[in-house]
């Protein structure tokens, strides 16, 4: 049995060597699916610590990016023992940087933290037209739509996307969160989103609140 507490702590400290070392040892013991799930949970708890330290200004954006990378590496090691059933998803999110904006660093941080928290994330990429959001929402029926943008012009595109979801009769089936440098409470209201954030960790908490 792996030392779950040590693992959680090492993830929280972003100690890559230690995390990957512990996981390799664990995988070598040929663990069962249930046991592996506990290890995944321990990693997720470590990511929650990372989020808290970010909110306390002990970690910064660069650390969040590394945390996402660390988690990807961790899951890669665990894959062979995760089994086909893998983990139960807590919810699903259709995510993208809106039309006219090519920035994706913030979106990618949110994505990796949301995945770490157990969400299924459908990432549509950058410069995503409203129609593409609508099509994907129709197809996968997510609980949440996440829109990201860095430029102020992204706010217009976010509004267009919300309007397109309304037109397609999908607005009431999803919660909408917007994120990125230009979003504010005012903008959120005008756009018709449910919540806004400029902090990926907070964004994930908001989503968790919605799927409880």
């Amino acid at each position: 049995m792996a030392d779950l507490q040590a693992l959680t702590q090492a993830v929280g400290e972003l100690d890559e060597e230690k995390v990957l070392g512990l996981l390799r040892e664990f995988v070598a013991t040929n663990p069962g699916v249930e046991e592996t799930q506990q290890v995944v949970n321990a990693c997720q708890q470590g990511m929650a610590i990372v989020g808290d330290l970010f909110e306390k200004n002990e970690y910064f954006v660069g650390d969040l990016i590394f945390a996402g990378e660390l988690l990807t590496a961790a899951i890669d090691i665990l894959k062979p023992v995760l089994g086909g059933g893998s983990s139960e998803k807590v919810g699903s999110i259709v995510l993208g940087t809106v039309e006219g904006d090519l920035h994706d660093i913030g979106k990618n941080i949110f994505k990796s933290m949301a995945e770490a928290a157990g969400f299924e994330v459908y990432d549509l990429g950058i410069d995503v037209p409203a129609g593409a959001f609508v099509e994907k929402v129709k197809e996968v029926k997510p609980q949440i739509v996440g829109m990201s943008g860095v430029l102020t012009l992204a706010l217009d595109s976010m509004k267009k996307t919300v309007d397109a979801l309304k037109e397609a009769g999908l607005r009431d089936h999803v919660k909408i969160i917007i994120g990125g440098n230009p979003v504010t409470e005012d903008a959120c209201r005008q756009i018709g989103a449910d919540r806004f954030t400029t902090n990926a960790a907070e964004g994930v908490k908001i989503c968790q609140g919605w799927v409880k």
């Binding site: 660069g62 990016i65 090519l102």
Partner: protein, 384 residues
């Protein structure tokens, strides 16, 4: 004409005084509007004008006519032609006509040793072909692509230089060039152009010694890049700062600060002040900024203007802090009150010129009436 010449002299004197650390007659105003804003303001098509620089004269003229500034308030920092000719992946026009900088990784983690041994060779031989698809080919084709792009670059920049001069004369703007040179802090250069935000964030943790050696290796190139051929009085080199707010303090101290400080000092030795765009919030780093050579110009985006005035106001030249977002959401009176408040904090003792916290990139990111009102208010109400 003589009136305009006298106006230009007076305005130039305002900036010289401020930049020399003397108290000027009044707080000078430097509003700056990027090309995209100007095109939209003139009611023209973004893509069309960015591809036809002759159309910029009318576009820029309208902004100069309608917004108060003591220094030329317009610029086109980048145009698509030369990037497109190179097949650039680091500057790309979006569907809406905005040239943007997507995350690129021109340098792989395995390239560090080569880069450290010879940054210039590594950039030319390995990195440029990855960032610019037209350079990823045989030698002759590459040479032609390069020549075409530079021809376009010099045509565009030559035209713009002529236009800036013409508008400066026409409107009697101060003759001081804050953008005489352009460079980046070594860590920002490694991040923005070579490894990407993600790549560098990982490298800092996985291969810290290499990152440290790489920024040292890049420093001489960046000093050279930031040194213009001719230096006039009070010209400066523009250095937009990027990554520091996203780093932990101890990473900043190790990877960012040492070579950035050396860069600013080296430029100062060549008679150039640095004009820093202090992007995001640098309040954690004010004691470091204090250490830079006297009269370094710093345009702040976010943070506490009082704290900045207190810590840096006697040594450096401050600008910025005026929230562009307020110009969108505030009433005219709220906008003017904000200007009053900032003047009250930042103007005493000089070493301050008025500027927004960042440029408004699109027309609808501000209410233009508010912007005009604020600029006119400051121009008329900030005598010493």
């Amino acid at each position: 004409m003589t009136d305009v010449a006298a106006l230009a002299r007076e305005r130039t004197q305002l900036f010289h005084d401020v930049l020399d650390g003397k108290i000027p007659k009044r707080v000078p105003v430097f509003a700056s509007f990027p090309v995209e804003f100007c095109i939209q303001y003139a009611g023209k098509d973004l893509v069309e004008v960015q591809w036809n620089h002759e159309m910029l004269e009318e576009v820029f003229d309208k902004v100069c006519r309608d917004f108060y500034s003591d220094m030329l308030p317009v610029n086109a920092f980048r145009l698509p032609s030369f990037y497109k000719l190179l097949g650039a992946r680091n500057f790309v026009m979006s569907s809406g006509g905005f040239l943007q900088h997507p995350e690129v990784e021109g340098m792989a983690p395995e390239d560090y040793d080569d880069f450290i041994a010879s940054p210039y060779n590594c950039i030319v031989e390995k990195i440029l072909p990855r960032i610019y698809s037209e350079l990823n080919t045989d030698l002759n084709t590459k040479a032609i692509a390069f020549a075409k792009a530079f021809k376009a670059f010099y045509d565009e920049m030559g035209y713009l230089g002529m236009l800036y001069g013409k508008l400066t004369q026409k409107y009697g703007y101060a003759v001081v060039n804050l953008f005489a040179g352009f460079t980046e802090a070594p860590f920002d250069f490694m991040s923005d152009q070579l490894r990407g935000f993600k790549g560098i964030s990982i490298d800092v943790r996985r291969i810290p010694e290499k990152v440290e050696a790489a920024v040292e290796a890049a420093l001489p190139l960046l000093i050279k890049a930031g040194t213009p051929p001719v230096v006039n009085k009070n010209d400066s080199t523009f250095i937009p700062l990027h990554m520091a707010p996203y780093l932990r303090g101890k990473d900043f101290e190790r990877f960012y600060w040492p070579t950035f400080k050396k860069l600013v000092e080296a430029l100062a030795e060549r008679g150039l002040s640095s004009y820093l765009f202090v992007e995001q919030d640098w309040m954690r780093y004010l004691d470091y900024l204090y250490e830079l050579p006297e009269n370094t110009r710093m345009r702040f985006e976010y943070g506490d203007p009082k704290l900045v005035k207190e810590k840096l106001g006697k040594k450096h030249i401050i600008s910025g802090f005026y929230p562009v977002s307020l110009l969108k959401t505030g009433t005219k009176q709220q906008c003017i009150d904000k200007a009053k408040e900032l003047l009250g904090i930042l103007a005493p003792g000089g070493r301050y010129f008025f500027d927004f916290d960042k440029v408004p990139v699109t027309l609808d990111s501000i209410n233009v009436d508010n912007a005009r009102a604020v600029l006119e208010y400051v121009a008329a109400n900030a005598d010493y």
